[in-house]
Symmetry: C2
Subunit: 324 residues, 2 copies
């Protein structure tokens, strides 16, 4: 493959001139520009992005860390971020952290040593590792520090909306299946749901799941549902967990929504495919992804933006697992 | 951040010595090794992976191109490959091609200019672009050329197994919903299914979908199902499309499996969550992902391997959408 030396030789100019042209880092006459570009095309030269990243300090690559792309929500989120990043000329370096602080910390090292232009981290589990980062970072869902912007859905209000809907549908003996305590987003949903219940003087039975998404692991957790006494409404912390709850209840012969009404959270593609289809709370995935990448690119370009938390609106999506 | 110059100065050795130590490219005495390592720890130095990739020609990064990680099959596949790659010390640079030849070709340029160590491409749509690649490539599902190894499930035999199962369950008026003609994997499933039908002298009605996975787009295609005459068995080219077919039939009041039996393909996590749960053909995702990454790393390490196609066994997973 041709390199910068070959280009310079063929065009009859110095290597420094070719470098200035390629990286747009100084004056090159129009005449020489045309000459260099012609040689580049003739030799089918592909600029070495690695070398360029070192010289211009801009690798046009963004590191995206998510817990797991097998989780339908983070998978749709990653797709959206990748799409918008491409439109803005950036490529995505995707890393699965598996909610494992050691893995996340290792990836953070890898991304730094690869000199990525910026990092988006979803649901961070090793916040202290971000204290000395000199690369722009946007956090998704979890608050890392006052120096790092967090973008998130309004999970708290989403939890309130879920309660209000089940209440309006006539539920008075409700259960809330909550996610692992260490997830801020699902904790916020729980707080919203429980606060709204308190306003109506309703007591809510709680069950905690130890995983957010792994069908196999969800099925291990599902055994705890056997403890459930009588109930007429269930709010589950995400759609995929709600899907496993529906499956469990159906096996026990419980009719949904006639006997028990169920709500999920996320509005991922799975809701429409379930039977009955799942009433849920929408997270605006497109808007979240777009906003997150836009903020990061502003940081990369040294634009002046407010370091604060950005909450995006959640809303009810009514389907068949709840009444009227 | 400390650089290699700082390390050399502090350790009282030359830059070339530090470079030999870091990249393991030549002799460094044990005494000097200890000295350099101590300084590295003191200065909290993170080797620049970009620079190292240029000097050692091994970036420890693998480019993985998939059509779309929102497709449950490719998403599970990407997770598996990422996991095994990590175990072997590699990071994954994930790219969505959206089955778009231009996007795939652009990403191929990006991956080359980033000097990735190797590339895995699933369901390539611009095969000609791989003719001049000097980086190891493994193709998943589609045959690119005789110089590039293809790893795939035995889709043809999977199609045969699907027919045999529906036949054994008593179906005699079958429909096959096939994927877009341009997908080799789903074409192979179709051929297998139709060849098995020919052996039994059964005529199969065909419907072609124009997308493999996008719930919205699948729903546009589903209208073509209105053309369906009477049938007692349907083989759908993948699980997620089968899920939309089930939803469509249920809305029309068709009882599954009593009136119509249905089979999907993939055995993705969605099968268990559907009601009734979906009988399908298993693709060995774990084995496929592991084998693909192992082959690629052997190529990267210049090991001698046969350039040929590797087919992995498919098998029936019986669930509730078929009888007996």
């Amino acid at each position: 493959m041709a390199n910068i030396r070959d280009i310079a030789k063929e065009a009859g100019v110095g290597i420094a001139t070719v470098s200035r042209y390629l990286n747009d880092t100084g004056y090159v006459s129009d005449e020489v520009k045309v000459k260099i570009q012609k040689v580049i095309e003739e030799l089918n030269y592909k600029p070495n992005a690695l070398a360029r990243a070192i010289f211009t300090k801009n690798s046009k690559t963004i590191g995206l860390m998510v817990p797991n792309i097998s989780n339908p929500f983070f998978n749709q989120m990653a797709s959206v971020i990748e799409e918008y990043a491409n439109e803005m000329g950036y490529n995505i370096f995707l890393c699965n952290t598996d909610d494992n602080p050691e893995k996340e910390s290792k990836y953070l090292d890898v991304l730094q040593s690869h000199r990525v232009a910026g990092i988006i981290v979803a649901r961070s589990k090793c916040k202290e590792a971000y204290s000395n980062i000199d690369i722009p970072v946007i956090s998704f869902e979890s608050h890392i520090s006052d120096k790092i912007i967090t973008v998130s859905s309004d999970n708290y209000n989403g939890g309130k909306i879920a309660f209000d809907h089940l209440y309006q549908c006539g539920c008075r003996k409700m259960i809330h299946i909550k996610g692992p305590t260490c997830f801020e987003a699902t904790e916020d949903r729980s707080r919203g749901f429980l606060d709204a219940a308190k306003d109506k003087n309703l007591k809510i039975d709680l069950i905690e799941f130890e995983t957010d998404f792994q069908v196999k692991m969800l099925e291990e957790n599902i055994e705890s549902l056997n403890k459930i006494g009588e109930c007429d409404g269930i709010f589950v912390f995400n759609d995929i967990a709600a899907a496993t709850v529906i499956k469990f209840l159906r096996k026990k012969g419980v009719r949904i929504p006639e006997e028990v009404q169920i709500m999920g959270f996320d509005n991922s593609f799975i809701c429409e495919l379930l039977h009955p289809s799942l009433t849920t709370i929408n997270q605006p995935i497109q808007a979240l992804g777009k906003y997150t990448i836009e903020l990061l690119i502003k940081l990369i370009n040294d634009e002046d933006i407010e370091i604060e938390d950005y909450l995006m609106e959640t809303k009810l999506i009514k389907r068949e697992t709840t009444l009227s």
